[in-house]
């Protein structure tokens, strides 16, 4: 998976992980994903449009996520994102990686 050019956001990989995880419970449109993450993290993590949509583009380009325009429960039209099978695989790997990393950091900091 190639990193997007010019984006120096260190949390980039993490954002994609969060998006994939959000989508693993079902298809959502962009706003819903942002709300979902914000809500579950108690607004500690607030996702800007400027980072959300590029991340979604990247996920689509790599085939981890597909999108389709659908009607919302309120009758409007929005683009819904769905996680693909390889997206789920990627999610699993990324989560393992995340776990290992946090454990390592905790050890270094003497927090285990």
């Amino acid at each position: 998976m190639a990193p997007a050019p010019g984006n120096a956001n260190p949390l980039q990989g993490t954002l994609e992980l969060l998006i994939l995880h959000s989508l693993s419970s079902g298809p959502m449109h962009g706003y819903a994903i942002a709300q979902h993450i914000g809500r579950l993290s108690d607004e500690v993590l607030s996702v800007e449009q400027g980072s959300l949509y590029p991340a979604l583009e990247r996920l689509q380009r790599n085939g981890f996520v597909t999108s389709a325009w659908r009607a919302t429960p309120t009758g409007r039209f929005a683009r819904y994102y769905t996680i693909t099978r390889s997206g789920r695989k990627q999610l699993g790997e990324k989560m393992n990686q995340y776990d290992r990393t946090t454990l390592a950091i905790a050890r270094v900091l003497g927090r285990d």
């Binding site: 010019g6 449109h29 949509y53 380009r61 085939g63």
Partner: protein, 905 residues
């Protein structure tokens, strides 16, 4: 599945771009509206709402750009946009574009043409199956200092029977008369053994080649034609196989036609005749043949050579008698024969290699000069557009600017490639037509795909490379300084100037080297022209005839014919004297060579002496203006008697008897078994082979010389006599007017004497001499052209740099003038700068020249490769031209009006 999705997504971004953009817009607006809803719901104050809105707006722009950057389509779109912009900006500065494309095109085209030549002539293998197995077998005569001597038929038989290394073929050149029908024609061909075709392995176009059985003495006459001859003379008639044509008066059956691909050793060859070696009459001392071979698979050259050398050691036991009174053992000791095996390509290419590599070097230099020029042009253009560049950088679009510059470089490179292709094609066309230079394998030269790709790649690379110079300058561009100065750069651009100065110095140096090389070649040409060849090339018409064996069987018939013809031709109006000779100096038919013996000199020294043998008659010496130094010329030959007199050249006489007069009355003979002949005259030395080679010792025999009786030994030598008879002779007519005017009447006269006899090699003696210098003339012209281009480019380069400096220093100059400096002083200042540049260039050029002209040595005559006079002349020329180029802007500097320059901002 993910790969499929990924691909599908990317395809969409290329082909459904607008739809995608619209969708993104819609999605974005959807997100916005939900956000606003949320904010209203949460109860933000209007200010906070506006702030939130503006924040998301900011990220909006960023997002759009981000997304757009990522898609493939945007990259393609960016490239096409740059290309369009590049075209427009190049069109806006037509002189720059034109100058760059022209320079690149010339440089690249020239190099490609020469490279095509080198590739086809020297690098491409011969067009026969498995060409790496083909070799030429050379006989090096170590004791006579001859690198590539001819073989005898003994070598052929010996190698064929005792060497396991290869399939052998022998050949020698022949010229025959084709005389059926009413258009007699003299045609070049080859006598070849049947194995010759097996060695080369080419399948006939029609019919077949002759077998070993048909290649015997006494077998019925057969011939194989070339495709060219078949189409030209026989109209491509497919029923030619089996037809009987007349060759040298003899009815000969056509066995087959060979395709044009078989053009060994050169495309002149029009037919193949069986060699007809007689194994019962083998003469090791009579050498006249070339051997080629196809090595057994896997056999190396060294192994083959060793094997063949071993076979040759058996020569004395298999053929003990060498002929002419020598035993084979004696003969082998005299000559010190060694077998050498060369790739067959060397036989075809000959010594053109030197010239070609020099041409490659020259073209390479010209290209370097051209590149330096183009780089300078780019830099100059970048200076002019500094302001625009500064603005772009200030806006943060440096990457885009670099991309645009590089695309411009690529576009110019592409233009250069197109022009280069045209130039290369034209150059190759011209080279192929310049047959006078006698470049072999010219029919194979052409622009093939690898070369075209090389042109394109080279051009693009150069264009890109040159554009990188201004791009790298961008990094050091002081944006604020440029913007403030309103477009005129601060003088703090020292290292930019330095780059340009380095480029100019390089150009001057390269131009110097090329001019020096050209000068050396020009002097060689002049030296050759002033060589005294030993004869007066006044108005003399020459043409050659060859008498077929069938109608002119022996010496009496031949002598009678030539005497008759000579007398008749002498009666033509406009003809002052007529002579006949078996070989005319500097022509393509060189003299035969033979050992000789002197009655009053001991035999032991004989081994080293070899002389040219020329048959002459009538007023040959007078017609050619060869001075008679002692004694007399030939008397009228009596056809029914054998003459016992000879005339020798001055160097032979003085070498053995000191004074030409002392040679008169001495006796000499050409073989131990023939009668002695008396020296009746001594003539001046003549350079027979080439203008560069010193005149060799020559013996002139009358047409009915007793040498041709070969004493009383019969057998093999008797057969040899038939070969030696002077059937092919050149008439030399001294004319009072231009030689060409006599040609028609001479032809008519000869046709009266014998209608079936074709005339060939009809030429004025002046043209023959010029043709012998053709290769030097050709090389000299090429170098001169290259040097001229380099000189022009170098001078333009100097002019450009100095003019630019003046432009940049206008304010400083105005200041100096206002402070009271005289215009002359200012001019001097500028010119001094020019002088320094040119001097540096000449110094580097001198070093370069001294290193490189060594490789020219093989082409030079009468001038050393470090000839001081030439170097001095070139220095003066280049220095003068460059200084003139510096003078013009310097004059302008002197005329600067301080009021104007200082009064402006």
């Amino acid at each position: 599945m993910s790969l499929f999705d990924a691909i599908r997504y990317r395809m969409r971004s290329v082909f459904g771009r607008e739809k995608l953009e619209a969708e993104r817009e819609a999605e974005f607006r959807f997100h916005q509206s939900l956000e606003q809803q949320q904010q209203r719901h949460v109860g933000l104050s209007p200010d906070e709402a506006r702030l939130a809105l503006r924040r998301s707006f900011g990220s909006d722009v960023y997002y759009r750009e981000e997304v757009r950057q990522m898609s493939l389509a945007s990259r393609l779109e960016a490239f096409t946009r740059n290309v369009r912009l590049g075209f427009r900006s190049l069109a806006r500065s037509p002189e720059f574009t034109l100058a760059t494309v022209l320079t690149l095109g010339l440089g690249i085209g020239g190099l490609t043409a020469v490279a095509a030549l080198v590739k086809s002539v020297m690098l491409t293998p011969l067009p026969y199956p498995e060409p790496e197995r083909l070799v030429g077998i050379w006989m090096t005569l170590t004791k006579l200092n001859i690198e590539s001597g001819d073989h005898s038929d003994a070598s052929f038989f010996l190698l064929k029977d005792y060497s396991k290394a290869a399939v052998i073929g022998a050949y020698n050149r022949a010229q025959v008369n084709l005389s059926e029908g009413d258009a007699p024609e003299r045609v070049r061909g080859i006598n070849a053994t049947a194995g010759f075709f097996r060695v080369l392995g080419v399948t006939p176009l029609l019919g077949r080649v002759y077998t070993d059985d048909e290649d015997r003495p006494g077998a019925p006459a057969v011939v194989v034609l070339s495709e060219g001859l078949w189409r030209r003379r026989y109209g491509g008639d497919r029923s030619i196989v089996g037809r009987v044509i007349t060759i040298d008066g003899q009815p000969t059956e056509v066995l087959g036609v060979m395709p044009a691909a078989l053009s060994f050793p050169n495309p002149d060859v029009q037919l193949w005749i069986p060699m007809g070696f007689d194994p019962a009459r083998v003469l090791p001392a009579s050498t006249n043949y070339s051997l080629i071979a196809r090595l057994a698979p896997g056999m190396t050259h060294d192994a083959a050579r060793a094997d063949m050398q071993q076979a040759m050691e058996r020569l004395p036991e298999v053929y003990p008698d060498a002929g002419f009174g020598f035993t084979t053992k004696q003969y082998m000791e005299i000559v010190g024969a060694r077998i050498v095996v060369h790739p067959l390509r060397d036989d075809v290419v000959g010594d053109i290699g030197n010239v070609l590599w020099v041409l490659v070097g020259t073209a390479g230099f010209v290209l370097l000069v051209a590149c330096a020029n183009v780089a300078t042009l780019f830099l100059m253009r970048a200076e002019a557009r500094q302001r625009e560049a500064a603005v772009c950088m200030a806006l943060g679009a440096r990457r885009g600017l670099s991309a645009r510059l590089m695309v411009e470089g690529l576009l110019l490179g592409a233009g250069g490639a197109v022009l280069g292709f045209g130039v290369a094609s034209a150059a190759i066309g011209a080279l192929v037509r310049a047959t006078a230079a006698r470049i072999p394998r010219l029919d194979e030269v052409g622009l093939d795909l690898p070369l075209i790709l090389t042109i394109v790649a080279l051009a693009l690379l150069v264009g890109l490379g040159c554009s990188l110079l201004p791009v790298s300058r961008l990094r050091t561009l002081q944006v604020s300084a440029v913007l403030r100065a309103g477009g005129r750069a601060a003088t703090g651009s020292h290292d930019r100037q330095r780059v340009r100065q380095t480029l100019v110095v390089a150009q001057v140096a390269l131009a110097f080297a090329l001019l020096a090389g050209s000068g050396l070649l020009a002097r060689t040409w002049l030296e050759l022209r002033s060589v005294q060849p030993g004869f007066e090339a006044g108005p003399v018409l020459t043409f050659r005839v060859a008498l077929p064996t069938a109608s002119y069987t022996g010496v009496p018939e031949i002598t009678r014919f030539f005497e008759n013809a000579r007398e008749q031709l002498a009666t033509l109006p406009g003809v002052k004297s007529v002579g006949v000779s078996s070989s005319v100096p500097l022509s393509s038919s060189g003299p035969a060579h033979n050992t000789f013996f002197l009655e009053d000199k001991p035999e032991a020294e004989i081994a080293k002496m070899s002389t040219a043998v020329v048959f002459g008659s009538g007023d040959y010496f007078r017609a050619m203006g060869i001075p008679l130094l002692a004694g007399r010329g030939f008397e009228r030959p009596d056809p029914d008697q054998m003459a016992n007199e000879v005339v020798v050249s001055a160097n032979l006489a003085t070498a053995h008897w000191g004074d030409p007069n002392a040679a008169i009355g001495r006796r000499l003979r050409l073989a131990p078994t023939v009668p002695w002949t008396t020296i009746v005259g001594v003539v001046g030395d003549v350079r027979m082979q080439s203008l560069e080679r010193a005149a060799e010792m020559t013996v002139y025999l009358p047409v009915n010389s007793s040498w041709l009786s070969m004493g009383t030994t019969g057998g093999a030598e008797a057969r040899l006599v038939l070969d030696l008879l002077p059937r092919a002779m050149t008439f030399t007519l001294q004319t009072s007017g231009p030689p060409a005017e006599i040609a028609a009447s001479a032809r008519a006269m000869m046709r009266q004497l014998d209608p079936a006899l074709p005339l060939f090699e009809v030429a004025a003696m002046n043209d023959v001499v010029s043709a012998s210098m053709a290769r030097t003339t050709f090389t000299a012209w090429m170098l001169a052209a290259a040097a001229g281009i380099a000189l022009l480019l170098g001078v333009i380069g100097v002019y450009g740099v100095i003019a630019y400096t003046v432009g940049m220093r206008t304010r400083e100059i105005g200041l100096r003038l206002a402070l009271g400096a005289r215009p002359g002083l200012v001019r001097g200042m500028i010119v001094t700068q020019g002088v320094r540049l040119v001097a540096a260039g000449i110094a580097v050029g001198l070093i370069l020249t001294v290193m490189l002209t060594r490789s020219l040595q093989a082409l030079l005559y009468g001038v050393g490769h470090n000839d001081p006079a030439t170097l001095l002349l070139v220095t003066a020329m280049l220095g003068g031209a460059a200084l003139l180029a510096a003078w013009i802007p310097a004059t302008r500097a002197g005329r600067v009006d301080p009021a104007v320059t200082l009064g402006g901002e």
